[in-house]
């Protein structure tokens, strides 16, 4: 189930490891084809509760997310919300640079949409 994709100029690093269960997405996101880039991770996450259980940490450290990638991020959060509903703890750690209002606000927007996840937004210098 482990997934590892290295970052490119226009796509983020994505990693999913099982011990401890951690999903990390970091970098820039403006892939040419959003649905094919995020397809694998979304497919894996959508059946997560049938494969594993226990606390999951989702760490994000994004520099830029284009509006069409928001679709994919929203789907990922929906999968994690399903995983929470299956009885697991989900911790979201949204890191944003302290000079980046856009990523801070976007973190707040996702937090607002997914209020049942343990969601912290961390500003980094």
């Amino acid at each position: 189930m482990n997934i590892h994709l290295d970052a490119t100029d226009r796509t983020p690093k994505i990693s999913l490891i099982t011990d401890p269960l951690t999903l990390t997405i970091a970098g820039e996101s403006f892939p040419e084809d959003v649905s094919s880039f995020y397809g694998q991770i979304i497919t894996t996450l959508s059946s997560l509760s049938s494969t594993v259980k226990g606390p999951l940490t989702f760490e994000l450290e994004m520099i830029y997310i284009n509006s069409s990638s928001i679709k994919a991020f929203y789907r990922i959060f929906e999968c994690l919300e399903d995983y929470r509903k299956a009885g697991n703890i989900v911790n979201v750690i949204w890191k944003a640079s302290d000079d980046d209002d856009i990523m801070q606000e976007l973190g707040e927007d996702f937090k607002d949409r997914f209020q049942d996840l343990l969601f912290s937004i961390i500003q980094e210098g």
């Binding site: 100029d9 226009r10 403006f30 040419e32 084809d33 959003v34 830029y64 284009n66 509006s67 069409s68 928001i70 679709k71 929203y74 789907r75 000079d99 980046d100 209002d101 856009i102 606000e105 927007d109 996702f110 607002d112 949409r113």
Partner: protein, 173 residues
């Protein structure tokens, strides 16, 4: 084009402090190249917060052109960036079919008159609907542009013929 006309064009670009001007087909490759150029230029800018706003508006504007350009193969795309007195204006234009302008006008009208808080609320509502949105976009692009701009967005529709309209969207940061 004659040299004298080139001089006139250059003078116009200079007098409006144009820092980027493009006319032609807007492709994904072009966007990536221009984004790289703009990033390099913005890195020289001391105000990192503002640089990020400029980059985000540019990206959404250009992606709109790629996804909604009516005649991709023809040179109807336009990208224009000017910088005067610490104010950056980003204009993106393309040709759209008249039948599509109705929805676009309605949407722009709604966004233009909205305050920042309303735009943010529309954005949050749009996030939940984004996955149902058809095509490569999310329906959030115009809201993203409006949200990151320091002034309300402005736009123009210019009739070309019975079927086509030239559209320009302008955002100031």
């Amino acid at each position: 084009m004659e040299l004298s006309q080139a001089t006139l064009l250059r003078n116009t670009l200079r007098s409006h402090n144009v820092i980027m001007a493009y006319n032609g087909v807007v492709s994904d490759d072009l966007m990536v190249s221009l984004a790289g150029l703009l990033k390099t230029r913005l890195l020289a800018n001391k105000d990192a917060k503002r640089s990020k706003l400029i980059f985000a508006v540019f990206m959404e504007g250009v992606q709109n052109l790629i996804w909604h350009g009516e005649k991709q193969e023809e040179n109807y795309g336009m990208i224009l960036i000017t910088e005067i007195n610490d104010e950056v204006v980003i204009m993106c234009g393309n040709r759209v079919s008249r039948e599509k302008t109705h929805d676009l006008r309605e949407r722009l009208n709604q966004i233009k008159g909205a305050d920042k808080e309303t735009i943010r609320q529309l954005y949050r509502e749009g996030m939940s609907q984004a996955s149902d949105h058809e095509g490569p976009g999310s329906g959030l692009g115009l809201l993203e542009i409006a949200r990151r701009s320091s002034h309300p967005i402005s736009y123009s529709f210019e009739d070309v013929d019975s079927e086509n309209v030239d559209f320009i969207l302008s955002a100031t940061i």
